[in-house]
Amino acid sequence: MSHHIVEAADLEYSYPDGTPALKGVSFRIEHGESVGIVGANGAGKSTLLMHLNGCLLAGKGTVRVGDFPVTGQTLPQVRRSVGTVFQDPDDQLFMPTVEEDVAFGPLNMHLPPAEVESRVSASLESVNALHLRKRPPYKLSGGEKRAAAIATALSMSPDILVMDEPTSGLDPRARRKLIGLLAGFMHTKIIASHDLDMIYALCGRTIVLHEGRVAADGPTASILANHDLLAGCGLELPLSLQGCPVCANIKKAE
């Protein structure tokens, strides 16, 4: 069984207006890995993630999720394996209440009502949002919306969790809570983000995208400490690796 493996081989994609977004991306992510996808704006991160759940199909090359190549025919199987958390939770929370949103995926899988109910409760509990179940999504705070959006993906019991900018728009405490929450998930995780400190905290491996190509792929600790590599790809060192600005000023003064 290879149902937790994600593999892209020479993946290329251009948008309908002809703008190339991915130019031969290749990687293989094994079961249980946490992988960060980083890159400057327009590097192709979100486009790549959209290929992993079949919202976009490869123009050239292949994407495989577990035992299935991602094609029009295999979408139901692929989407059952891959839970996606989109960048803006308002795009993901479209039902009148949180519980109906979380139940949306399981109901579409035609599960029995008791199973749907148990998945809704378990998913909301795992993101500490059980108290939000009867609330309308537009009434939630940014952090609560994010938790609810993650619960909508978890309720489908995915093998692989794909997240696009999960910490964007969160205040520091909500961000810290979310990092703690994600660290507890045992899924294969693929996280695209500009929040390099979050990637540093959560992902053992990082793939750097630059202008639609893989610029680097390796252990997070060495990639995110490589100033020249990051600068060449329009990125900066994570704040946690930049040193204390107060101490630096003291040193300068001395």
Partner: protein, 269 residues
């Protein structure tokens, strides 16, 4: 607070009213939707000069207003907001139809004025009934009930998504108008040219958001319909409500109720 903000808050207020526990709220949404449909059918079945015959029907919204504990000012605000449409629909009747329809002593009243009054009465009755249904049931429950009563799935899906994204788009519109106001001279509202541009941007934003939401729905197995968790329970109270209201509407339509009430109270209609 801008007008768009006020409108969004008004839309929310109906949902908030629907969340309160009242005798009307406890009825099955299907019963309320069916009774409202019967009421609308009864109102539109009257002839264009039958004003007096229609008046007993005001008892229905009055009863629901009281039993559903809906503040009358909320209802009047909505009626006032929608009234220009009704005025527009009937404003030419007095000009086009000048034949005398009834004489009140020495005063000859042209048919156009009677039919205009009839349009306004119908507007008040029908819009009140629909607003009271929403205020005593909730938009989502009404949609679910319509679905159970056989309305096409695609229409219900559209209604539900419209409700969900109405708030997001109204927020977006409010932010855009606020940003404009802060940069305009004397904080004036946008002129017609700027409005066109704002509306165009809002449309493009709505399209982008629609595409992203569709992707999110597909990622969770969307197959064209919004599945529902809600279960309805039909009780004796629902049967009584349906039969009672239905009987009253039949009596009001065919039983000359207005004339009988007038006779009873000593008035001639």
């Amino acid at each position: 607070m801008s007008r768009i903000d006020v409108l969004a808050r008004d839309m929310e207020s109906l949902d908030l009213l629907a969340s309160r526990d009242t005798p009307v709220r406890r009825l099955d949404p299907r019963a309320k939707a069916a009774v409202t449909a019967m009421f609308l059918g009864t109102v539109v079945s009257f002839g264009k000069y039958e004003i007096a015959e229609m008046t007993p029907l005001f008892l229905y919204p009055a009863a629901i207003l009281a039993l559903g504990q809906v503040p009358a000012r909320v209802l009047f605000r909505y009626l006032l907001f929608a009234s220009p449409f009704a005025l527009l629909a009937g404003m030419f009747n007095p000009v086009l139809d000048r034949e005398t329809a009834i004489s009140l002593g020495a005063l000859d009243v042209p048919g156009g004025w009677i039919s205009f009054a009839s349009i306004m009465l119908r507007f008040m009755l029908t819009v009140s009934a629909v607003l009271l249904l929403l205020a005593c049931t909730g938009y989502v429950q009404v949609c679910a009930a319509l679905g159970r009563l056989g309305a096409p799935r695609i229409v219900i899906t559209q209604f539900l998504l419209l409700h969900r994204y109405m708030f997001i788009l109204s927020d977006e519109a409010a932010r855009m108008t606020r940003a404009h106001m802060l940069r305009s001279r004397d904080g004036r509202g946008p002129g017609i040219r700027v409005w066109a541009s704002l509306a165009g941007h809002l449309l493009l934003h709505a399209h982008d958001r629609g595409s992203r939401t569709h992707s999110a729905m597909l990622a969770r197995g969307f197959d064209g319909s919004l599945p529902s968790l809600r279960a309805f329970r039909w009780s004796w109270a629902d049967t009584c409500f349906l039969a009672g209201c239905g009987g009253f509407f039949v009596l009001a339509r065919f039983g000359n109720l207005a004339e009988r009430l007038g006779d009873l109270m000593g008035f001639a209609v």
